[in-house]
Structures are given as structure tokens and as C-alpha cells.
């Protein structure tokens, strides 16, 4: 399998009044044409890892890595101008809440065709045709009507599908999805995930799926990295998640209430300070 993305010893640092805070500490992984899940609690550095790949960490935050390459080409040394060509066109990112990611005063269709026209030199008419086809691909009924709608007129699930359409239209090689479904209802969640899954598979893209939901990740991804305090504590094939060895992963799994296995009290995660200092596992 060819490697789309290779990351070695990635650090994200924020200088503060009390010294430097390391949000991500020595994370290494590689991504092929697969679905890679990154799981962890809030503050574990999972979103920071995703943003660091696109170099979306604002100063004074700093990104350091031994290696960060997209198909063998270095990402770290590029200028801001060159990075802008990477973002969207080669690596795109879907954020958590469509409400905050769509421009509220611009029609949905105009936003999608703008995304396309930024990366491909085509006429407006052609862009519109492509945008409508894309809306159809994310299972939106009546795409002509939705094309003319404003973001406040669409539901959360539809908004997220519009985001997916917008992110996929320049045909990127890698998609980073940062909690794409946590703002959505359970019943809509599955639908959005299925659409994303199908499109990623059809186009042979690499997907990085960031989530706090262990079960969701294990049912949706091929491989899972489990992060704790800025490090990767364990990496597993997703279908083997329930055979996880690390006490942190086990603790997380056991703390979930389950419909099929009721119990009086839930297990509470006992944190071991050693987890934060262990060497990061590479995946």
C-alpha cells in the first residue's frame, strides 16, 4: 500500500506564562488509502494532530516534526502560499458543527461552486453543474432547490452533508474529519457516515476520522489510534478494539453504559500518571 501521508515525531507546542505547553507530544503515524480513526478524550490532542497536518495552528503555537510528508513531499518547509494549495485541494477538513463552518450570508450552492472554482479553472456554469452533481452524491433530494438555500434553512444533518460535498468537490487525496457527526442526532449520524464512507471508498482517498466515540470509530474505521495526554498510547485494527490491552483503552470501553449489558454501577476510569509519560506508540 502506498503511503499518502507520513508523520514522524510530531509536536505541537504552545508557549504560556508558565512555560511551554505540549498539546501533542511525539506522535508518529502513516496513512494509506484507508480509514484511520483517532480517539481520545477532550484535551488529548486529537484535534490538534488533525490541525497540525494542515498547519492550521495559529502562532504563538508551534509545530515541530522530524518528518511530515504528503506523498513523499515535505509539508513543513512550505510557505503559507504553497500551503494554501494543499488545503482543500489535496487535504481537506470537515469540522464539527456545520452551523459555524458555513458562511451564513451566502447561498449553499455558491459556497460549493466557489470551493470548486478556487481549485479548478472552469466556467461558472460548469461549476454549478458540478456542485449540483455533488449535492446529489451526498444524497440530497432536490439538489436544485438546496443549491439556492441559505445555511439557516437547512437542518444539521443536511448542513453536514453540504460540508462533505464542499470538501470533496476539489477531489482531495486525504480528508480529515474532526468529529463530523457529534453535533447530529443518532439517527442522522449513521446516514452521514455511510455517505462519507462510500465517497471515500469510491475515490480511493485516505480518511482521518477524529472522534471521542470509541464504538463509532471501531465500527467505521480500519485502524484506530488511541490518544492520551498528547501521546498515542495504543494502536489497533478497529475490529480488534475490544481486545485492547492498554488500561486506558480498557477503562474507556468499560465506562460506557450498555443497553445489552446492564449493570448497577459503571466502572470509573482510574488514571495512572505513568500513561502520560510513556513513549508514544507509532501507528
Amino acid at each position: 500500500m502506498s503511503k499518502l501521508l507520513e508523520v514522524e515525531n510530531l509536536w505541537v507546542k504552545f508557549p504560556t506564562r508558565n512555560g511551554v505547553f505540549d498539546a501533542v507530544r511525539g506522535v508518529s503515524f502513516s496513512l494509506g488509502q484507508e480509514r484511520l480513526g483517532i480517539v481520545g478524550e477532550s484535551g488529548s490532542g486529537k484535534s490538534m494532530t488533525g490541525r497540525a497536518i494542515l498547519r492550521l495552528i495559529r502562532p504563538p503555537g508551534m509545530i515541530e516534526a522530524d518528518k511530515m510528508e504528503l506523498e513523499g513531499v515535505d509539508l513543513l518547509g512550505r510557505s503559507e502560499r504553497e500551503m494554501r494549495k494543499v488545503r482543500g485541494q489535496q487535504i481537506s477538513m470537515i469540522m464539527q458543527d456545520p452551523k459555524f463552518s458555513l458562511n451564513p450570508v451566502m447561498r449553499v450552492g455558491a459556497q460549493i461552486s466557489e470551493a470548486y472554482r478556487l481549485h479548478a479553472k472552469v466556467s461558472k456554469k460548469e461549476a454549478k453543474r458540478k456542485a449540483i452533481a455533488m449535492l446529489e452524491a451526498v444524497a440530497i433530494r432536490d439538489p436544485e432547490r438546496v443549491y439556492r438555500m441559505f445555511p439557516h434553512e437547512v437542518s444539521g444533518g443536511m448542513g453536514q452533508r453540504i460540508m462533505i460535498a464542499m470538501m470533496l468537490i476539489p477531489d482531495p487525496k486525504i480528508m480529515i474529519a474532526d468529529e463530523p457527526t457529534s453535533a447530529l442526532d443518532v439517527s442522522v449520524q449513521m446516514q452521514v457516515l455511510e455517505i462519507m464512507d462510500k465517497l471515500v471508498k469510491d475515490r480511493g482517498m485516505g480518511l482521518i476520522f477524529i472522534s471521542h466515540d470509541l464504538n463509532l470509530v471501531s465500527s467505521f474505521c480500519d485502524r484506530v489510534l488511541i490518544m492520551y495526554a498528547g501521546r498515542v498510547v495504543e494502536t489497533l485494527p478497529a475490529d480488534k478494539l475490544h481486545e485492547a490491552q492498554h488500561p486506558y483503552t480498557r477503562g474507556l470501553l468499560n465506562s460506557l453504559p450498555r443497553l445489552d449489558a446492564p449493570k448497577e454501577r459503571l466502572d470509573v476510569l482510574q488514571r495512572d500518571p505513568a500513561w502520560a509519560t510513556e513513549e508514544s506508540v507509532s501507528g
Binding site: 478524550e41 443518532v186 465500527s219 460506557l256 453504559p257 450498555r258 443497553l259 445489552d260 446492564p262
Partner: protein, 251 residues
Amino acid sequence: MSGIEIEGLNVWFGEYEERVDAVKNAKLSVPKGGSFGLVGESGSGKSTILRAIMGLAPTWSGKIDILGKPVETPRSRDFYRAVQMVFQDPYASLHPRHSVDQVLSETLSLHGFKDIDTRISKLLDDVGLGPSFRFRYPHQLSGGQRQRVAIARALAPEPQILLLDEPTSALDVSVQAEILNLLTDLRAEHKLTYLMVSHDLAVVGHICHDIAVMQLGEIVETLGVEDMRAMRTEHPYTKHLLESSLQSAAR
């Protein structure tokens, strides 16, 4: 005796052509000391039922009986002593410039308690926060600790009924387990009645004995937790909800 008895409850917003019926002809009954869950997707009206009980929904009709007595409008002080609510987002429901001590002492003095000092230590103890948290501000607390403070505030007037509006949806799973355990313990200790709203069927199944499923403002089915676990449902929407939540949990 019944804790909460609701019949023919309608809640709407707006008038005439702008009228939106958020809850339509809802009926539910929670025995004293029982725990009842409301599930459904966002916009199905589950939180609106809680808000109607608390007097936070201005326009409603129907019958709401609390501890055997119909509620008064506006709600009396005795009502708020008996019924308290814990809100969804502990980041938004605590005053950012009030310390934990201020939050709790204000509630206690409003309800006319005299021994405020000892009560605050007792309340913090009850929710598993030590005395060291007493003079902290919300920004100095984690999400789970904030929700504990919100629960302590709700427990301050010694209520008999707690309304829980998605109490763990803003928290991590490991913290969620702590809060759910705390809620289980408190209910046993203080003989509380719970009415809980959640979109997470596993959470509701863990805390509640009876569950009502809501869709588009209507309660489509009420069933016991055992029936829910065994998938003994009649309504197709309940089945759909159960399937989608088991789907993500099974694998």
C-alpha cells in the same frame, strides 16, 4: 403517590400562522421515587416538556400534577423547593463570575435556610467535591466538576424531584460514567424522583426504569427498560432508534 402526572399537555410557541406545536397531547406518569426517561431526536419536544413543568414555557395547556397537586402559575416557592432542574451544558449554566460558594449560598438563602455554612460543606461532600472547591470559579473547574456543582445547586433546597436535561451530553465518556454513578447514588440516598431527557438510549437505559419515545412533539410509545433491552417495541420509530444505537454499540 405519584411524583409527576402529566395529561393532555400541549406546548406551543407563536400565534396564528406562526404557531409551532412543540408538544402535542403528552401523557406520562412517574411514581414517587421512580425514574423516567424521555428520548427522541433534537426538536422532538423532550426538553420542552421539562421546561413546561418548570414554568419556563409560557404557553401551555393540559394537566401537570406534581406530588399530587396541580402546579400554580407562576410557580410558587414551595414548588421550586420540591422540583429542581439540572441543565445540559455546565459551561453555560453556571454564572462565570460567581464562585461555587456564592452559587450555593444564594440558592440556600433564597429558600430560607439558616445553617448555610454547614449545608454548603455537606452539599459539596454529597456530590464528591472536597471543601477545596468551595471558593473556586467555574473557569477553574473541569466539565465534570462543573456538572457536579450544578447538581449540588439543584440539591440545595432538598428537592424530591430532579429534572435532568441531557446531564452528560457535554462530557467525555469517562466523566459521564462518574456523573451517572453519582446520580444513581444520590437517588438512592435522597429518595429522589428523576425525569431525565437524553438522546442517548444507553444512558437512559442505565438510569431509568420507564422510557417514553418522542417524535415530532408526540409521545409515540412508553415502555419499560426490560422491554427496550429486549427490543420488544411496537412503534417503528422506536425500533429505528434502538437499532441505530445498538448498531454503534454492538461492534
